[in-house]
Amino acid sequence: MSDRPAPKEPARQPPIIIVVIAAIAVAVLALPLIGLLQRTPWPSLGSTLGKASTLEALRVSVVVSILAATVSVVLGLPLAWVLARLSFRGRALVRAVVLLPMVLPPVVGGIALFFALGRRGLVGRALQNAFGVDTLIGTTAGAVIAAAFVSMPFFVITAEAGLRQLDPRLESAAATLGAGRWTVLRRITLPLLAPSLAAGATLSWARALGEFGATITFAGNHPGRTRTLPLAIAQANESAEPEAAIVMAVLLIGVSLVVLIGLRHRWITPYAHKPANSPQTSPS
């Protein structure tokens, strides 16, 4: 072994081909945005943004997307736990059903929701009889349900992956040190899962913010209640107000970028690689 040349140092320069392909990928994703920005009527930007209808759509979008992400987390976390930790007959089927909204065209989701929750739908009628809920159609609650329908899978899939990566022996170790079920959940499971939960919540919120098809099909397009920014953009585009559509699109992009950049540490950096707030020492 000793007479062989020492192995080469790993190349400092990244392989050119990979960098080129990565650059093409960025171009595919970024070029449409540049096209949009290039057509943006910057001088009239302020006045269009300040219009009551724009601000209203922004408000509906923020409210609906945050509520939808909340619903996704509250319902999705126990679901992710069941999928990750329990083995039962039909688990594969349940997981497929859970992920279905990711592949279905949102319009199909909207139609399906209509048949389930509409005034004469499977559950809708029961809701009306039991609680006097007139209808979800045309209400913000309906828009939230539509957005949650398409965005929850993103949370469930991320949270389940996080749960599967979590070493269950850490939880039993905590139990053998005297921690009861709730203490284990509060001090071990949830903190260890936090990066995955943050990532899943961010993804599902982002999906809900961009949601269009299911919302317009199920909840309708009512200003102040269900007309989110994507709906308002489509409306403006169709009613020969392309400038307004572009301005609102820029607004939507801006809001998304601010949140995604702001949360980047939460959803791509796991706890273990967080720099320790104390100096590193060499192992003894």
Binding site: A175, L192, S278, S284
Partner: protein
């Protein structure tokens, strides 16, 4: 009677069966080849694996009795477990890890921290209290794991190979710590020195069953399997060193090559001693007249156990046994080279 257990349990197709009875404050050491079921047994005591049949009583509390539908969860047992692959909580720093058990027992943050600091000090990790587990070497992590279990101050401390990743010096310190802890301890180890120095009771496991139990001396004197014989075939003496001379506890003086002072441990392999009928005139620095206490043939070798003045185990060939006419009670000369002795501070 701190632990009284009749255990029948299974993990998948692997079954274990054991009867354990330990005194309060004693140290029970479990040894056995890999896959013998040592960890499984400790996990049954901890409550991580359900009992299929039998009964476990810990510190007077029935914690397992399937016949009466009793199964106390781990957190309500009077135990703390140090886990083998040091499962420190990666999101908590060293002191938070060690304080975890105390917090669970209801201590407030300040008192739990104080207790954690005390134990970190005992394992020599006080200056790394704020580091996260990813920044620790395996030996450091192991000491934190030991402190974390000990800081629970349980009635019974369950230790799964607590000292394996430590260097010789730290290992000695931690062994002293384990000797000083006066709670009931159940310990898994592969180290013959730890067995001799720590065990009040030695349990030998193989294929899920306890095949031998007794004091280390009893088991070493009559090992039931080759594996056990091999494990315990190390000669261990204690004495006081002055330079390269070590006075054994019975007054006999051995010459070593490592100058040390104070209490020391001497170990040497059973192949290091040569026997002869007449006084040897070799370069060996240590010679003495010995008496054969036992002879145990094992394959083509024979284990000769000598008693006074230096109780030790010697491997010789069958041929040598015949030539020397060795038998129980035979007197012969023993020679031991100083360079064969490993000496370290006790």
């Amino acid at each position: 009677m701190n632990i009284q257990a009749e255990i029948q349990a299974a993990v998948g197709a692997f079954c274990i069966q054991a009867v354990i009875d330990t005194q309060s404050g004693s140290c029970t050491v479990i040894v056995g080849p890999n896959g013998a079921g040592k960890t499984t047994l400790i996990h049954v005591l901890a409550g991580l694996i359900p009992l299929r049949k039998g009964k476990v009583v810990l510190a007077g509390q029935v914690v397992d009795n399937p016949a009466r539908n009793i199964r106390v969860p781990p957190n309500h047992r009077p135990i703390a477990l140090q886990t083998q692959p040091n499962l420190l909580f990666p999101h908590l720093n060293v002191i938070e890890n060690v304080a975890f058990g105390a917090r669970c027992s209801g201590l407030n943050t300040r008192l739990a921290r104080q207790r954690a600091e005390k134990w970190l000090h005992k394992v020599g990790m006080a200056d790394m209290a704020n580091l996260f587990p990813t920044h620790l070497s395996s030996g450091q992590a192991q000491r934190v794991g030991l402190a974390r279990a000990a800081a629970c101050q349980p009635n019974i401390l369950l230790l799964d190979e607590p000292l394996t990743s430590l260097d010789a010096e730290t290992r000695t310190n931690m062994r002293h710590l384990l000797t000083d802890i006066k709670t009931t301890r159940v310990l898994i180890t592969h180290d013959p020195i730890e067995i001799r120095l720590l065990a009040d009771q030695l349990l030998v496991m193989e294929k899920g069953e306890i095949i031998q139990a007794g004091t280390p001396e009893e088991v070493a004197a009559d090992p039931r399997t080759q594996w056990t014989a091999k494990l315990l075939d190390i000669n261990l003496l204690t004495g006081t060193a002055t330079g390269t001379e070590v006075t054994l506890n019975n007054g006999f003086i051995l010459t070593t090559t490592t100058p040390l002072t104070g209490p020391v441990l001497i170990t040497f392999p059973p192949t290091a001693v040569t026997l002869s009928t007449a006084e040897p005139h070799t370069s060996a620095r240590n010679t003495w007249q010995a008496q054969v206490a036992r002879i145990q043939p094992e394959g083509d070798r024979v284990r000769v156990i000598l008693d006074t003045p230096i109780p030790c185990r010697v491997w010789v060939t069958l041929q040598a046994v015949n030539e020397l006419r060795l038998n129980t009670g035979t007197r012969c000369w023993a020679a031991l080279k100083a360079s064969e002795l490993t000496v370290r501070n006790a």
